[in-house]
Symmetry: C2
Subunit: 403 residues, 2 copies
């Protein structure tokens, strides 16, 4: 995966002291990543809907509005989210971008910023400044264009992720490379999801934004670990155009695949999770209905604990769909379970349980990869959401005191 | 509490074999309750919004529409929810009401029905029939008019509640008595909330319904154990009018108090809960906004695990409010914590943390009764929601296999 770079992009990841050197970070100290483009990029972003958006989110929104066709760099720090930091936080996000632009000799307004880590504490800007200087040097070196540079960058944006997350696709002579950090949360307030996708396809900013929104809707917005949305969640895409244009539908499909790959890696790496659950809702009156029902099932504590306990509890799935207030026909609803890619096993038809084999249903629920497929009997639309189970480890990790 | 009856109502609770005689029920076998009114009652109900409503919910909705001014009895069984049972379930709910009417010599259509317990299994009607016969006899006896009768009825509607839930108020020469069963859930699919409030006040059916809706909005709809809504949730109120009319505002206040008392008993008895949490949101642009923000905080897994762990994690509270998509002013938001009725201790002002004493905040979070008070800085409306924490016991109890 890390072998697949994208022409024209360079990468660096360095340690600048924002992350404490504790076991919680597995001894990793990398905490500042830099992505540099040789050519001006069309760029687009999708940001958290949280009403307390962090400073880098506010900064990037404005920067992309002002300069959507000539972005040159993304600077990302871990260890401090620069959230709930007021006016000082905004000034720090601005300064972080300006430092990267100065160090790389780029025009003002051409760098974007991302932050993840603890909230409510001011960024230590002396450390950020030193980190940006080191990272710029590394990006300019041989390493910056190698798989090692990409891996260092992917590691530097991690908080409590257990592994770096990268995904790549080729489409119509162009390349896409994405990296992400996920929602692992030994440390509270670090549940931020960040992702950057780079491509050498030529795509206009407006089309890039529309395509990204579509891709995010079916990937990052279709995962749920605990239903909480961070103040910092951000997905960026940068297109430097070096490989020329690409068929739009194929590009959207490839971007969706990269985003889905990264999103599923995030769910699989969620701390405290023991299972990977695909919730598929079919027979919905509309796609939003299908998505809402799937999300409600995926975030139901009763469903998530049943999955953890290996209990094929069809009643909880129906009850969760029922309270999602989407259109459904109780007399036509049907439910299937499947494990580890095996065939779907039907347990409910016409809204009532079949005389199914409890042993077989229980066996399916011991599988690590579980499919819950509910048909609402109300139409032809469908949607899929990925989630994890709710475990004792999840409670332990999140009840842990912040220190 | 059980000393306070309401003139004209008789009660019974008997064992008819719907509950298994297992330790999960603490050896209790009472599983059929009967409430009988000597006079015709104005009656109103508020029912689950779940799109898979159980048979007794469908039955009561129609019965109340057809006959809102002359209800005479409520028959309630525990051990089987008569949910996801199709046409047979509807016929069984009808038959349950008809059996009670026949046994008590009441007009057709004057009995309401409630069920709670496992879902997807047909009611054992022979047991229900014997139970109704026994309960009718008991209701006619001395016991039926005594505190013992009321206590037996309150016990017979329990599933895994650890104690019966009763609440009473006097207002303007009239009495109100409520009983409820709550959302304890050793056994999956038994998370149903049922409540009945009886009064000798004279209130017209339409006014009674409007008053009940208001009372439920601020009581049962303001509690959250895990965000899941059952297929059977029902609150009924019966007014026999024997004590004559009552000032409407005073009656609404008293009804709200009875419902709030019962609702809080349900939260305090939620299995797997170690703390009782009051979430108060002030400074909202509207009451629905305040309620939505409070509900989002109260159902946030990250907030609930922080409460369990004794971590005064202000960031999670702000992040939860922020994703509730209500109007708020990040530059004016403020947050306080208080424990066991003590003074409010401010930790956030103007959307950023104060230099507060972590030790004091942590001490507050060790209290059993915790107040989380968030001001959104966007208006003058407020709302309060009660909830519990998310514990290892909750996960253990709900991951348990259905047997």
């Amino acid at each position: 995966m890390t072998e697949m770079g994208v022409p024209g992009f360079r990468f660096a990841g360095v340690a600048c002291g924002l992350k404490p050197q504790t076991a919680a970070y597995g001894g990793r100290a990398l905490d500042l990543a830099l992505i540099v483009s040789d050519a001006p990029c069309a760029a687009a972003g999708v940001f958290t809907q949280n009403r307390f958006p962090a400073a880098p989110v506010l900064y990037d929104r404005e920067a992309l509005q002002a300069n959507p066709a000539a972005i040159r760099a993304v600077v990302i720090n871990a260890g401090n989210a620069n959230a709930c930091t007021g006016e000082q936080g905004l000034a720090d996000a601005q300064r972080m971008a300006a430092l990267a632009e100065a160090e790389l000799g780029l025009p003002a307004g051409s760098a974007l910023v991302m932050s993840t880590g603890v909230i409510g504490l001011p960024l230590q800007m002396d450390k950020v400044e030193a980190g940006i200087r080191d990272a710029a040097g590394l990006a300019r070196s041989e390493t910056g264009q190698s798989g090692e540079g990409r891996m260092l960058a992917a590691q530097a944006i991690m908080t409590t992720d257990t592994q770096p997350k990268l995904a790549a696709r080729q489409v119509g002579g162009t390349s896409l490379l994405g990296m992400a950090k996920g929602a692992a949360m030994i440390h509270p307030n670090m549940a931020t999801m960040l992702a950057v996708v780079l491509t050498d396809a030529a795509v206009e900013p407006a089309a890039l934004h529309a395509t990204l929104r579509q891709a995010v809707e079916r990937s990052f917005n279709a995962i749920s670990v605990d239903g909480d949305t961070s103040t910092n969640d951000t997905v960026l895409v940068l297109a430097n155009g070096l490989a020329g244009p690409v068929e739009p539908a194929a590009f959207e499909a490839a971007l969706t695949e990269v985003c889905t790959d990264l999103a599923q890696q995030i769910v699989r790496d969620a701390e405290g999770a023991s299972k990977f659950v695909t919730v598929r809702v079919s027979g919905a009156a509309s796609e939003p209905d299908a998505r809402q029902a799937a999300q409600t099932i995926a975030t139901s504590l009763l469903v998530k604990t049943a999955v953890y306990g290996g209990d094929p509890n069809w009643g909880r799935v129906l009850a969760a769909a029922g309270r999602s207030s989407v259109e459904l026909d109780p007399a036509r609803a049907a439910l299937w379970f499947a494990g580890d890619g095996g065939p779907e096993y039907q347990v409910v038809a016409a809204g009532a349980p079949l005389a199914y084999d409890e042993t077989e249903a229980a066996r399916i629920f011991t599988c690590h990869d579980l499919l819950i497929h509910l048909d609402l009997g109300a139409g032809a639309a469908e949607a899929t959401v990925w989630t994890s189970d709710l475990t004792h480890d999840y409670v332990s990790l999140n009840a842990h005191y912040r220190t």
